[in-house]
Subunit: 543 residues, 2 copies
């Protein structure tokens, strides 16, 4: 229709467009006039009516509306608007560096050397960092971090990971051919789920996930149109995984779908528990019996703080259960550069080890990964440092060890601090933060607050978290974003702010909580001793 | 069943496992004995029968079987096995650094500075690189590359990209809110397609792609279970996009699906053509009329070699067509760090600019992207350098400009060289390599070779490429992996090897081709002047 109107278009550019700072200003009115339908803008191809319904179904609380609101408040503060606080503290996401944690020097030295190899001549870089960088570069095409790696990752890094796993698991063999570098752990988890989900109707793949869960899982399941199978962790027993609950969830789901995947997060996110070896054995036995593919999210394997807890890898426990298990149970374990003591989230590094996968399916996995070409190579280099840190006799050992221990010691201190202060608040009960980076306390929300939330179409803990944010600048994520037993309410907060800031934050949280109880409890003056005790009496039922 | 057998397992570990170098050796036999089903190993959960059928349907030739075979040959060479060649040359993938192209110094300096900020004190880094790095870091959480960025990317980088686009398009406004950093362009393309695909049966989303195409598109369409709508580029006219062919494809497809997306690759991959402004106008007019979402893959926008060609961005052309187009056509344009003159594939950097998207759908896109948290931040930093290179008065300008021009000049030389030598071979005809990084010549394959391929269940050009690889070590990708008119055969080769190596490669290719013709043409001694001419007479029909 209007190929002949180019001159007119150029008129618009010269006289009209250039005076408008932002594109969107002149959008709708102009369009409707010129398409000859005054008042009604032209209908788009992509609308909420036509968008992929599985994308619409995705929820991801860690970066949900509360975080958007936190961003708005931050901008308002920067622009000098008065608030009742001077800073927004983002305790919503496990983003250590954003909270002030310093990078591990050795890791950054190796990646910088890989990135700009002229530095290999610089006397200010230690020899062990240079050797690591040279070794990585030798396995990169053209000895450059800028080449695509193989879809599974750089070979020497895959070998280093296999060695690391063997050492971590006290000799249980690891084959580097089973190692796949990934773009953070999320990418690996998504790829494996994508591979597995199939079937229609009652044969559609069901994926068992813990409740509470890290919402990547529910998001991926929604996106892939798989069936959610929720098994509830036992809050009364430090968020233990109870095998009977696993069986209940499995048997209930089996009537509607084909359960094929069992996801476990250990140490737990958002729940912070560290699973016992006995529990892992039971879970693996269950997976063996029911022929489930096990996905073990072990990204917090270095984050164990409780003195009576140890990290047991699913793989090692499987090995110790004997060859009938070790040679049969299909297991993918995930790790990441984003957590641990490095906290290198921005590099999007990670790996997965995949056991007992059918070789033909393995070829399908490699093909699927190859479409995205390769995981980011700087992130692969970062991963290499984590699995191949300086050795005792090497020049960087002392500083590396000091930095690593310092990060982990401070985290352990903050885990204890958080639990202690939260449990000192009437109406809050928090399980021990045995590992990972989060507290997931249960909070008592008075019935009047629940009513108000319902009248505003908010989850009650969303109302709580929104008010906490507006009044204190503290950003945490409502428990409803992770899943929780009906009638219970929680929030997830990270333990990542510096000890000083964390103590202030927890103090403010305490004050807020007491204000919140007072505001909504005027009809019910007695504050329950802990929300937990109250819920135990009134509302806990298998869900 | 066997939780009591831990002692036995530990016996296995001590006496048996440790003597075996690789995990897989003791897998099946042991398992079948111990699961009590001698001879028949336990059935897996995930098999070719249960794997996601849409993953099975994915094809990705750029890293397909021929590349696997090239890897095998490379390993064999390293282990000293005799071959008729001394080196495998991977001309299968646009991986510039792997082919010896040197990184742009300034880019690597900035990323290294971001990575290891202690270097900001080093006198050996130029001030402009330091300023760029400091500016990026100031917008990163905790001023660290290790923090997650916003899901859309680091704010100042998004602003720089918008400024770059405005400048590239001679003043056409770009809003940084429409810019999304991505994990390479592939990730952006995949995300947009994922957002759009919906419907069932005849309302299922159809995606129009050029044939030949870059196989990311067909792979994504298969994975998302959308409908492929092929429109054929016109080989007789330098792979031009013919609007009548677009209409034919659209109308044919409309009976079976709901065409909603039109993908264009300009400059073309694998075909190397640069679209004229007139052609782009026609395409956009068509998209406007049929209300199609336009995906413009413009990752080769800096790779234009032919003197009579210029890159015209879809956005700028849309703007010049007037507000009724500019304010209505839904357009996503993709760019990448992997191509251009930087060739930084390993960093997985890229961006997309999205125009006229419904704001509610935009929120869905942000949510979808947020599940993966953020694109790799080092790749974002690399992208920033590309859109914000040293300015005339800055200290790095001279070296940067010299390096950039050198890469582009050499590429232009190799584009010409490749076309010239290929067209000197009887039975090969190659369109001008106007842009991008590939030649996609048509090759004549004698009927006897076609018969042999069919008897071996290979595509005829796969047979050709396999033989080329086995005899010469040259790895190229068969045209069947990109799509081609039935009865025609092609391969894609990159122009990335160094000029010396490329000349040798083309010489070997020529010799191989003549041998191949001779081997298969004994019954038909006359070699056609060009395959192209022959096919025009015999087999070209609209497909």
């Amino acid at each position: 229709m209007a190929l002949s109107k180019h001159k007119e278009a150029s008129f618009f550019r010269d006289s009209f467009f250039n005076h408008l700072p932002r594109l969107k200003r002149f959008s709708t009115a102009e369009a409707s006039v010129r398409t000859g339908a005054p008042g009604s803008p032209r209908e788009r191809c992509l609308t909420m009516a036509t968008v992929n319904p599985h994308v619409k179904a995705v929820e991801y609380a860690v970066r949900g509306p509360i975080v958007t609101r936190a961003g708005d408040l931050e901008r308002a503060l920067r622009q000098g608007q008065n608030q009742s606080f001077t800073e927004v503290i983002k305790a919503n996401i496990g983003d250590a560096h954003a909270m002030g944690q310093q990078p591990i020097t050795f890791l950054r030295q190796v990646v910088a050397l890989c990135c700009f190899p002229e530095l290999l001549e610089s006397p200010s870089f230690p020899d062990d960092a240079k050797q690591r960088a040279q070794r990585i570069l030798q396995d990169c095409g053209g000895q450059s971090l800028g080449s695509y790696s193989a879809s599974q990752g750089v070979e020497c890094i895959r070998r280093d990971i296999a060695d690391y796993i063997t050492h971590r698991d006290q000799g249980v063999p690891s084959d580097w051919n089973n190692i796949y570098l990934t773009t953070g752990a999320s990418d690996g988890i998504m790829s494996i789920l994508k591979l597995i989900v199939s079937g229609q109707g009652s044969s559609r793949t069901g994926v068992m996930i813990p409740i509470p869960q890290y919402p990547l899982y529910s998001a991926a399941i929604s996106e892939l149109e798989a069936v959610h199978i929720n098994y509830y962790l036992d809050e009364d027993h430090c968020w233990a995984l109870d095998i009977e609950e696993l069986q209940r969830a499995y048997l209930t789901a089996k009537q509607q779908c084909q359960p094929r995947v069992l996801c476990i997060i250990n140490p737990g996110n958002p729940t912070g528990q560290v699973q016992s070896k006995k529990c892992i054995e039971e879970v693996l036995h269950f997976a063996f019996e029911e022929n489930l593919f096990v996905m073990a999210d072990e990204v917090y394997q270095d984050n164990v703080y409780a003195l009576d807890c140890r990290f047991h890898s699913f793989k090692k426990v499987l090995y110790e259960m004997g060859p009938e298990y070790f040679n049969n149970v299909e297991l993918a374990s995930f790790h990441s550069t984003s957590k641990g003591y490095t906290g290198e989230c921005g590099f999007r590094g990670g790996y997965m080890e995949v056991l007992n996968m059918d070789p033909q399916v393995e070829a399908q996995l490699v093909k699927l990964l190859s479409v995205r070409l390769c995981p980011p190579v700087p992130g692969q280099a970062a991963m290499d440092v984590i699995v191949n840190p300086p050795k005792v006799h090497e020049p960087s050992y002392a500083q590396f060890t000091k930095e690593k221990n310092s990060v982990l010691d401070v985290l352990a201190h903050k885990a204890m601090l958080t639990e202690r202060i939260l449990n000192s608040v009437p109406g809050i009960k928090c399980n021990p933060v045995q590992g990972a980076m989060y507290a997931f306390p249960q909070i008592f929300i008075p019935p009047r607050a629940i009513q108000e939330a319902q009248s505003r179409s908010l989850a009650p803990d969303m109302l709580y978290c929104l008010k906490l944010l507006e009044e204190t600048g503290i950003c945490v994520v409502p428990g409803s974003g992770f899943g929780q037993r009906e009638g219970t309410f929680h929030f997830r907060m990270t333990i990542l702010p510096s000890p000083e800031k964390l103590e202030v934050l927890l103090g403010q949280l305490k004050e807020f909580h007491l204000r919140f109880l007072e505001e909504y409890s005027q009809q019910e003056p007695q504050i329950p001793r802990t929300a937990h005790d109250q819920h135990r009496e009134t509302s806990e039922q298998p869900a």
